[in-house]
């Protein structure tokens, strides 16, 4: 893993650790806020509706009270009719006021009250009609009250409810909220929404009419969120006027009603994003800093390990060479064979040092990936390693897959990796033992295992066995660069290398590579 990817991974870890809790808490807070805001908005609308209903009810009561006052002012004398007309001048909301008695013709009775209703008023009970549109197209209710001083008579009038329109139209909640009023049959009788006012005159049904009918009996059960008359989602609050059966609903677009909550949502999102950005920035900066420090530290440690290895190994070599030089200095001919063997051995060892260091300094780049049959490859490795194995008295065997285990790779590099493992296995095996090269093919991968029955590797060493300069063989011929090079080569091929070892039983190093299609026959 290069430094950039390590920085990115560390940064993501820092960012997630820092922001995820914030986002989680924020999401919960936002949802809670949204619900509370909607609930509060509905309650506000309901409160406005209740207030409006109360005022409308009070206005209608005032009108009826005015009618009672006019009836009282009319008195019982022969000029009652005139007195009634004069009194009505001071009650602008009353129209067509008339004294109604037993002889009053049906044509003179109020327009929307039948004879039975008027008779009821003459008998002492107040009666009122449903709301209707008068001749001047304004809303009105016909009402009759008993004439106090004149038994069998009543005073009837048309109660002008233009104020109902005015009042409903003046209700504004925010920029989009308005009120609607309905009669007990669900017919709209006043509207703060201009688009619905034509329905007041024509009697055309409006979407809320059905709900209004139900709300007149139980306003608490009326829907509080639905699609409004203009097609937008609205929140609503309902109230009813029990005496008349009218209902008032105050509607506001959900968009506007929940705007504050949505603003908070956006703010929280912005804060989360800012926190994320800050975390990323801090993560990047700190990761780079830590990695740089680690790198420096690692360099020193690596340099230390190299120095220790070189000091140990080259010291050993220097001692042998000093001893050989001493032998040469005696001039004894008998030492010459020994001097020759020493020099050959030391030169070979020093060449291996140089080769290992050369591998360490060279980037592993798979330039030429060519199809490679692992079965044939294993056999090739066996033949190459055979002289060394024979010298060490160890047998080499190949167990091919037999099914064509093809991969794609740099044959030279893979051979160096495989030879390294075989060389280690041979050196770890007692004389007469067998080292096996086992090839297998699986789903998408192929495998080359090097199995020995040597002394095995102590379990404590296994986790760092592929680290550079970690060798503890310290035979004088190893500086601990072989296995790290094996890992670098296999990694560069997109594969992996693993080891399983038991002390006293032996070790198995397993190289796994991506499987490739065999080349097409020429």
């Amino acid at each position: 893993m290069n430094r950039g990817r390590m920085v990115a991974r560390l940064t993501v870890l820092v960012a997630l650790a820092g922001v995820l809790p914030v986002l989680g808490v924020g999401a919960i807070a936002v949802e809670s806020l949204r619900r509370r805001s909607e609930s509060a908005a509905r309650e506000t609308l309901r409160a406005v509706a209740v207030q409006a209903a109360a005022r409308i009810g009070a206005y209608v009561s005032d009108q009826r009270e005015a009618l009672r006052a006019v009836a009282a002012a009319a008195g019982t004398g022969p000029d009652a009719g005139r007195r009634l007309e004069d009194a009505v001048l001071d009650a602008p909301g009353l129209g067509h006021a008339a004294l109604v008695g037993p002889e009053t013709p049906a044509a003179a009775l109020p327009r929307t009250l039948d004879a039975a209703a008027v008779a009821q008023a003459r008998a002492g009970s107040e009666v009122a009609s449903e709301i209707y549109l008068a001749d001047d197209d304004t809303p009105a209710v016909d009402a009759c009250v008993p004439s106090r001083g004149r038994p069998g008579w009543a005073v009837c009038a048309q109660l002008d409810l233009l104020e109902l329109w005015r009042f409903v139209q003046r209700i504004h909640v925010g920029e989009t909220g308005y009120a609607l009023a309905f009669d007990r049959k669900g017919r709209i009788i006043a509207s703060g929404a201009g688009a619905l006012r034509a329905a007041i005159l024509t009697g055309d049904p409006v979407p809320e009419g059905e709900a209004a009918r139900g709300a007149s009996r139980n306003p608490g059960a009326a829907p509080t969120r639905y699609r409004g008359p203009l097609g937008e989602e609205v929140l609503a609050g309902w109230a009813a006027l029990p005496d008349s059966g009218w209902t008032v609903v105050v509607e506001q677009s959900a968009d506007e009603a929940l705007r504050a909550a949505r603003t908070v949502q956006w703010v929280l999102l912005a804060i989360s994003l800012a926190a994320l950005a800050l975390s990323v920035a801090v993560g990047v900066r700190q990761s780079r800093k830590v990695l740089a420090e680690l790198e420096v530290d690692e360099r020193w440690r690596t340099a230390g390990r190299i120095a220790a290895g070189i000091t140990h190994d080259l010291g050993h070599r220097v001692a042998i060479l000093q001893q050989t030089a001493g032998m040469a200095a005696t001039g004894e001919a008998a030492f010459l064979p020994r001097i020759r063997d020493n020099l050959q051995s030391e030169v070979a060892t020093l060449r291996k040092f140089v080769a290992d260091f050369a591998d360490l300094s060279r980037d592993v780049k798979v330039v030429d990936r060519l199809p490679l049959d692992l079965d044939a490859f294993a056999e090739s490795v066996r033949r190459t390693a055979l002289p060394h194995a024979e010298k060490m008295g160890v047998l080499l065997e190949v167990a091919p897959s037999g099914a064509g285990a093809w991969t794609a790779g740099d044959r030279y590099l893979l051979e160096r990796a495989a030879l390294n493992l075989v060389s280690n296995a041979v050196e770890a095996s007692p004389r007469g033992a067998t080292v096996r090269l086992e090839v297998a093919a699986g789903d998408g991968t192929v495998e080359l295992a090097v199995v020995d029955r040597g002394a095995g590797i102590p379990s404590g060493r296994l986790p760092s066995i592929f680290d550079a300069f970690a060798s503890t063989k310290r035979t004088g011929a190893h500086v601990g660069l072989g296995l790290p090079n094996v890992k670098r080569i296999v990694d560069a091929h997109g594969g992996r290398v693993a080891v399983r070892s038991t002390e006293g039983e032996g070790s198995t190093f397993r190289i796994t590579l991506p499987r490739a299609e065999p080349p097409a026959p020429a």
Binding site: D136, R166, G194
Partner: protein, 419 residues
């Protein structure tokens, strides 16, 4: 260079904004029957069309009358006038307006044409009042084989029983191009169609319905004053002195408020003299206006013990029946200045109660306005109770529309329409 040009072009287009509507149509709901379109139509859609098709010889304006047809008019005697014609005035088909057309217009108003030349028309008015009153009623029009020809900004494009379409004669960008008068069975139907967006204009709205327009997008309520008022006419059955004392005792503001069903009054009212004692006064009213019944009752109440019977009069017979009443609550024109003489002059065109005051007639004949006013104070013939208001609902894109002082839509050709 090309980029600079494109920037300049884009800037020019951006500054130009949206082009003004070239084909703006005002659809006005009118209560049927539509009536026959012509210079003498005085009701319904035909009267509204008349405002746009025809022009009076003189249009009343706050500062005096204005005329497209007359360079000036000169009084030659108490009732004789010479009208000097403005040359170059043409009908909508391009034919010139001739002295004969002007003579026809004044004849239709009951004036006598004494002589005509290509540049003048000499007339004798029916009364001694200012000729501007007659000129305001005299509409210039010419009968052709296909209908009436006018001089207004609009001409009839089509006419059906329930729809009259008028188109602007000379295209005027940014102004109303066509006016459709759409017949409706009732004001309720017209108003409902207005609210539904099928119409975008309605004239002669009443106050109650105007309430419904509050907050309706796309529409505006325009207010103006009508040339008419509601008045209490005093019968000649009452002696002049009694008329004066009764007129002085009438609380006009209180009656006006009662007529409008409004509380009275925002300002303190002056103390009034008592109504002189006498027999109860009979009050009649023809049912022209919704305010009349309440005004009549309020008048009776104001008269106290002298307030007598209040009777609603049949529209067809009220003129004849009004002779039996002491007070008649009825509408009367208050514009143009001098029009009241038509009501107060002996034998005047609108003198339905048969008033006759030689002193007033003499002052009128002498053209002495101060003497006329003094005589009317001494022997009043009517008391104006309230000036009538004009209300119209119009498309909100029309910018600052002004209702006419005479014909409600006479200023329509000037109205600008927002892009």
């Amino acid at each position: 260079m090309r980029r600079v040009f494109l920037f300049a072009l884009a800037g020019t287009l951006a500054c130009a904004g949206r082009p003004p509507p070239e084909d703006f149509v005002l659809r006005v709901g009118v209560i049927e029957p539509m009536g026959e379109v012509g210079p003498h139509a005085d009701a319904g859609g035909a009267a509204l069309a008349g405002d746009l098709l025809f022009e009076p010889l003189a249009t009343p304006r706050p500062g005096g009358a204005a005329s497209k047809f007359l360079r000036r008019w000169e009084r030659l005697g108490p009732r004789r006038w010479r009208l000097d014609l403005e040359p170059g005035v043409r009908f909508n088909d391009g034919t010139p307006v001739a002295a004969g057309d002007v003579a026809d217009a004044v004849r239709a108003q009951g004036m006598t044409v004494l002589s005509t030349t290509p540049a003048t028309v000499e007339v004798e008015a029916r009364g001694a009042y200012p000729v501007e009153v007659d000129l305001a009623f005299a509409t210039v029009a010419r009968r052709t084989a296909t209908g009436w020809l006018g001089t207004g900004a609009f001409a009839v494009e089509s006419q059906e029983p329930h729809r009259v379409v008028l188109r602007r004669v000379q295209p005027a960008p940014g102004r109303i191009a066509r006016v459709e008068l759409v017949g409706c069975a009732s004001s309720r139907e017209a108003f409902a169609r207005l609210l539904r967006g099928e119409l975008n204009g309605m004239a002669s709205l009443d106050r109650a319905l105007a309430e419904l327009l509050d907050g309706v997008p796309g529409l505006q309520v325009v207010r103006g004053t009508a040339p008419s008022a509601l008045a209490a006419w005093l019968s000649p059955r009452l002696p002049a002195e009694e008329r004066r004392r009764i007129a002085a005792a009438i609380p006009v503001a209180e009656i006006a408020a009662a007529a409008r069903a409004e509380p009275c009054c925002s300002e303190p009212q002056p103390a009034l003299p008592l109504v002189p004692p006498g027999r109860p006064l009979r009050i009649g009213y023809p049912r022209y206006l919704p305010e009349q019944p309440r005004a009549a009752i309020a008048l009776r109440r104001a008269l106290g013990a002298r307030g007598g019977e209040v009777v609603a009069l049949d529209l067809a017979t009220w003129v004849r029946a009004s002779a039996n009443f002491d007070l008649v609550v009825a509408p009367m024109l208050v514009r143009p200045p001098g029009v009241e003489a038509r009501y107060f002059e002996t034998g005047g065109q609108f003198n339905v109660l048969g008033q006759s005051d030689p002193a007033y007639d003499a002052a009128l004949a002498a053209g002495d306005e101060r003497a006329q006013e003094e005589e009317l104070r001494r022997a009043p013939q009517a008391v104006v109770i309230l000036r009538r208001e004009r209300l119209a609902a119009l498309d909100a894109r029309i910018q600052d529309p002004v209702l006419g002082d005479w014909g409600i839509f006479e200023r329509l050709p000037e109205w600008k329409v927002a892009p």
